[in-house]
Amino acid sequence: MTGPILTVDGVDSGYGEVQVLDDLSLTLGEGEIACLVGPNGAGKSTVLKTVFGMLTPWTGSVRLGDREIGGMAPEDIVRIGVGYVPQTENVFGSLTIDENLRMGGVARDGGLDEVVTELYDRFPILDDKRDANAKTLSGGQRQVLAFARALVMEPDVLLIDEPSAGLAPNTAKEVFDDVETVNELGTSILMVEQNAREGLGISDRGFVLDQGTVKFEGEADSLLDDPEVSRLYLGGESRR
């Protein structure tokens, strides 16, 4: 592992005048999968939104490699190799599956058809419904589509907000496998997961967020083994 590919350094951020993140710092090493866990409303999604330019950090910096990206517009951040799967409203309801995927690749220079074909192979659930409007998809199908849309850009860094929410156990496993595959192909991943045990299970490192700051961080395995973390944040057993 070389230096961090993504650095969040002393960031305050929030919505309007409401502060959510409080002096938050974390790093994502090149080639790593890192998982953010924590209670509802802890600020996990807010971290991703701030990194991706949906929110502007009030203070502090966000860097991709050495480049400052805090406050850059999302459409520009996509172009320097970051992808993002939002937690909610993550598909274009009135566009077909195929159009959704192609929209994921508007910033690509070429090879769109190949990637899309490849993605259909990987997610047969989508292949069956190429021409259906995304709003007709079931909750789980939507989630898969949202994930696939972000992959079209083949980003260097992928931010995923709760990839497994609403997925059936078998589909969830597939998606986690895919996350790992994507990671092996060279994408560094920062993931938020409520299915914390599974999420940490495939991660290299973990961060426990509470009330806008990082409460615990470390190797994913050590967090899983930490009884206090388990009790406070992870729940008794695996959820699947």
Binding site: E75, F92, M103
Partner: protein, 305 residues
């Protein structure tokens, strides 16, 4: 029979104008997400732009479709003017606003007033006309089909068709149409996907207002030009957009065709034994529109894309 053909021919000309107006309105409706009450006045603006330009280019020789070439140049100027004004309005007025779609709607009423005030202040309220000779019905059609259609009518229909086909190609052959729909659907996600929504919105304004301007120019060519022509026709254009199904460009075209036809076909009602006076023509169009909406609550092209 000739009677019906004649009404249909009238309807087609009128529809062409409505269609041009409704496309732009529908684009703004779906992408900027508000009912733009300044759209009618954008049409008027284009018509006046072309009027001034025609004063300059009018003398250019040669004719196309029976209209002087200068007219088409003037048309282009009118379209460009409307596009520039619309973009400026977007940048200066709509974009900085922090409000919802109804707030935008109300703002657009204010914008409409300002456009109209400028036109009225500059050109007065009396009606004007493009200085182009009328040539009467085309003899061939009159003799064979007993339908009176003028070269001007043909020019309007053909030009509208060219513009509509052009737009169709633009939407189908480029990703623009899809980007527009994506932006309309979920602007945040569009940006996340890398779509430069600012640009898409600008292009939308350009395309929508240029087409509106074309509609305005043809409207003025068809009847005459005064500061209220666009506003007077706005309700009908709205009806077309809604009837077609908000957000669907093709629906708007269909709605425009239908409303234009209905408007011109009212006299037929008395032929089929419904003694309804022409004074009720707009009412009939509206009642039919409401009836269609009851059957298809989201317009004809409701769920079509």
């Amino acid at each position: 029979m000739a009677q019906i053909l004649q009404y249909l021919a009238n309807g087609l000309v009128f529809s062409s104008i409505i269609i041009l107006g409704s496309i732009g309105l529908s684009l703004v409706y779906s992408i900027a997400d508000f009912a733009n009450f300044a759209h009618g006045d954008t049409m008027t603006l284009g018509a006046y732009g072309a009027f001034v330009a025609f004063g300059v280019f009018g003398g250019l020789g040669g004719t196309v479709l029976g209209l002087p070439i200068g007219f088409f140049l003037a048309l282009a100027v009118g379209m460009a003017l409307a596009a520039v004004v619309a973009v400026l309005t977007h940048v200066l007025v709509y974009k900085p606003l922090d409000t919802d779609s109804i707030g935008l709607l109300i703002t657009s009423i204010g914008v409409a007033f300002v456009y109209r005030a400028v036109l009225q202040g500059t050109f007065g309220t009396d009606f004007l006309q493009y200085d182009i000779r009328r040539s009467g019905p085309i003899p061939l059609l009159l003799d064979t089909l007993d339908v009176a259609v003028t070269q001007r009518d043909v020019a309007i229909i053909v030009s509208a068709a060219v513009l509509v086909v052009g737009l169709h190609l633009l939407l189908q052959r480029t990703t623009l149409g899809r980007k527009m729909r994506a932006t309309a659907d979920n602007p945040d996600l569009a940006r996340v996907s890398g779509i430069r929504t600012d640009r898409v919105i600008l292009v939308m304004w350009v395309v929508g207002s240029a087409l509106a301007a074309a509609g305005g120019v043809f409207l003025a060519l068809y009847s005459q030009l005064d500061p209220r022509i666009g506003f007077n026709i706005l309700l009908v254009v709205f009806a077309a957009v809604i009837l077609g199904g908000i957000g669907s460009v093709y629906g708007a075209m269909l709605g425009g065709l239908l409303i234009g036809m209905l408007h011109e076909l009212t006299p037929l009602l008395s032929d089929v034994g419904l003694p309804i006076s022409n004074a009720y023509a707009p009412a009939v169009a509206f009642v039919i529109m409401v009836a269609v909406l009851l059957v298809r609550p989201r317009g004809i092209a409701g769920d079509m894309t």
